[in-house]
């Protein structure tokens, strides 16, 4: 496997979707290629940063108001016949 192929398979490698043979090829290339190790490491860090910081919520006061409005709409809906 060369650098270009490693980059092509990078996400599949990170997501552990490669078959055993391709995974072994990727690991062999990574063991000898510093640049590709940097790309792998910094791609994983990128995902991790967004996973940690990207989970914003609806601001608390607005969330509660929205919840109350929708709960009222649900409570007032026509119930199905028994």
């Amino acid at each position: 496997m060369n650098c270009e192929e490693l980059v092509t398979y990078l996400s599949e490698y990170i997501d552990q979707n490669l078959d055993d043979e391709l995974r072994a090829d990727a690991q062999e290339h990574l063991a000898s290629c510093h640049n590709c190790r940097v790309v792998l490491d910094t791609t994983q860090k990128t995902i991790s940063i967004y996973r940690q910081t990207g989970r914003q919520s609806i601001p608390t006061v607005r969330r509660q108001a929205l919840r109350d409005r929708l709960q009222a709409a649900f409570d007032q809906r026509d119930c199905p016949p028994k």
């Binding site: 650098c3 270009e4 980059v7 092509t8 990078l10 996400s11 599949e12 990170i14 510093h34 640049n35 940097v38 790309v39 490491d41 910094t42 791609t43 860090k45 990128t46 995902i47 991790s48 940063i49 967004y50 996973r51 940690q52 910081t53 990207g54 989970r55 914003q56 919520s57 609806i58 601001p59 607005r62 969330r63 929205l66 919840r67 409005r69 929708l70 709960q71 709409a73 649900f74 409570d75 809906r77 119930c79 199905p80």
Partner: protein, 197 residues
């Protein structure tokens, strides 16, 4: 996504707690998808409200095997896209499907680590937001669903109405594009300026 079958039964029976549970499970997730696409907190909130109201009015028609969460995500996604198309000042750009053969190679090969203080600082957050917003919407939505919400490839494909292979290609391109932008930002701010290779 959590199993919705029991919740759906409770919703159909009109149990108030069931709606509270549905809201608490999905409201913030839906908001994040809407925000990532329309970029405006009030508009995103409006989109979430519409989706829940639609769910309330359709609840009796849901089949037991339907995935309520996937359906809600789809409503939010389609509504966000419709709103973007309707914008006069910033219409949705035409996007061609990414071609795996034209994958750009990484250019910034700097090692960096992620100092917690910088990541959570206002400046750091602004940069992370700006970087993700610079992605085309098609890549952004896949990145949000797969890497932030941690949905599966199959769930993401169903929500966006595209094939699983296209989800994978778009996710890969989104990750590489974001990596490139973060590499520039964080490497420049390291005490030793990273290691130039």
């Amino acid at each position: 996504m959590p199993e919705d079958t029991f919740l759906l039964q409770e919703l159909k029976a009109g149990k108030p707690d069931a709606f509270a549970s549905l809201f608490d499970t999905y409201a913030d997730r839906l908001y994040r998808l809407g925000m990532s696409l329309v970029g405006d907190p009030f508009e995103a909130e409006d989109i979430v409200q519409e989706a829940f109201l639609k769910a309330i009015s359709h609840i009796d028609r849901f089949q037991a095997r339907s995935r309520l969460g996937t359906w809600l995500y789809r409503v939010v996604y389609n509504s966000s896209i419709d709103r973007l198309r309707g914008r006069v000042d910033n219409p949705l750009p035409e996007e061609s499907d990414p071609d795996e053969n034209s994958l750009p190679m990484p250019e910034v090969l700097l090692e960096w680590h992620t100092p917690e203080a910088l990541v959570i600082s206002n400046e750091g957050q602004d940069y992370l937001d700006q970087a993700i917003r610079s992605l085309p919407g098609s890549l952004r939505s896949v990145f949000v669903l797969r890497d932030i919400e941690e949905l599966s490839t199959a769930q993401t494909a169903e929500i966006l109405g595209i094939g699983e292979s296209l989800v994978k290609v778009r996710l890969h391109r989104a990750r590489l594009a974001l990596r490139e932008q973060l590499a520039v930002y964080f490497a420049e701010r390291l005490p030793d300026k990273g290691i130039v290779l």
